[in-house]
């Protein structure tokens, strides 16, 4: 039994392996990039718009709104990063309706890569917004004793992001694989419908958590809102 799509190898030459994770990741990237390229080729501001443009507008404004609700003042700046995270994870679970497809997020290497992207992006946005001194000083809040714990929480939440997404996706495919051997009729279809739902929820959660982390790193360093932001940061750390 395959625990992850890493084990399905299409092509191998010496050290280089072309496994299902890489193939499906590139396929997804192609679909996303080419799809949005084709749709945005003829945008219009008329009353009559193409269906696909409407779809993209709904997605983009929806993500924008969600980012703003979490508390980032300038959502356009973060839309590129957070939006592509969401779209990639969502599409990778949405494509499970295609037979023979394995979601690349069911491999720990993909989810670890995504989580490391978040791990790198949080301090980048934080430093950009608050300056390096004030960003680094936030690690010593409320006292200097909390410094190691703040650093640990930074690492452990990255690990949690990766393992959460991996576990959810892997459990979905695994449950369907097990059910196919026990009850090959109808019931796996219900479970794959449930898998679509959990995939969407996980995509939402992954991107909203990334948004919350970025918001905690950027918003907060303004001196006027110090006490409020401190509360928020503590809440996040407790999770």
């Amino acid at each position: 039994m395959n625990l992850s799509p890493d084990n399905i190898i299409f092509w191998q030459m010496g050290y280089f392996k072309l496994n299902a994770t890489i193939v499906y990741t590139w396929g997804l990237m192609l679909v996303l990039v080419l799809g949005s390229k084709i749709i945005t080729r003829k945008l219009s501001t008329e009353l009559q718009r193409s269906r696909w443009q409407n779809l993209l507008e709904i997605i983009v404004t929806g993500i924008n709104q969600q980012i703003e609700e979490v508390g980032l003042k300038n959502p356009q700046k973060y839309l590129g990063f957070l939006g592509s995270l969401f779209l990639f994870v969502a599409m990778s679970s949405l494509f499970t309706i295609v037979p023979g497809y394995e979601p690349p997020t069911g491999s720990l290497s993909t989810t670890a890569a995504l989580a490391i992207c978040v791990f790198v992006a949080v301090p980048m946005f934080g430093i950009e917004e608050a300056g390096i001194g004030r960003y680094l000083r936030a690690y010593t809040r409320p006292t200097i004793i909390m410094l190691p714990f703040n650093i640990i929480s930074e690492v452990s939440r990255t690990l949690a992001l990766a393992v959460r997404l991996f576990g959810n996706m892997m459990s979905g495919t695994l449950i369907i694989a097990i059910l196919l051997t026990i009850t090959p009729f109808i019931f796996p279809i219900i479970m794959s419908a449930l898998g679509l739902l959990t995939g969407m929820v996980q995509a939402y959660i992954f991107s909203i958590l990334a948004t919350v982390y970025i918001a905690a790193a950027t918003r907060a360093r303004k001196p006027a809102q110090e006490s409020e932001s401190e509360d928020r940061k503590n809440n996040i750390n407790e999770k």
Partner: protein, 93 residues
């Protein structure tokens, strides 16, 4: 009983116990979270967007504990490092 059988028995029992015990806590926690979210939704339907978003994020946080247990039990069953070690040693002899 040789070490191979022992490792197999311990791994299987531990995998079952891990997912059994590890899912009780998150189940209770999620139930309480959903119950109080429903209560606050009934009290303040206007704040439904915020409540729902916070509920989902919180549920994911709680559920991740169960997911960790699931991952550990799956590793014990399908990708057990100790089992692989014993198999490799047995093959080497």
């Amino acid at each position: 009983m040789d070490s191979m059988t022992l490792i197999a028995i311990v791994s299987i029992i531990t995998a079952g116990l891990t997912i059994a015990i590890g899912s009780i806590g998150p189940a209770f926690g999620e139930a309480r979270a959903v119950a109080s979210a429903l209560a606050s939704l009934a009290q303040q339907p206007d704040a439904s967007a915020t409540i729902t978003r916070t509920l989902f994020v919180g549920l994911a946080m709680v559920e991740s504990v169960a997911i960790y247990c699931f991952v550990v039990s799956m590793i014990l069953i399908f990708a057990n490092p100790f089992w692989n070690h014993v198999i490799a040693q047995a093959a080497g002899k």
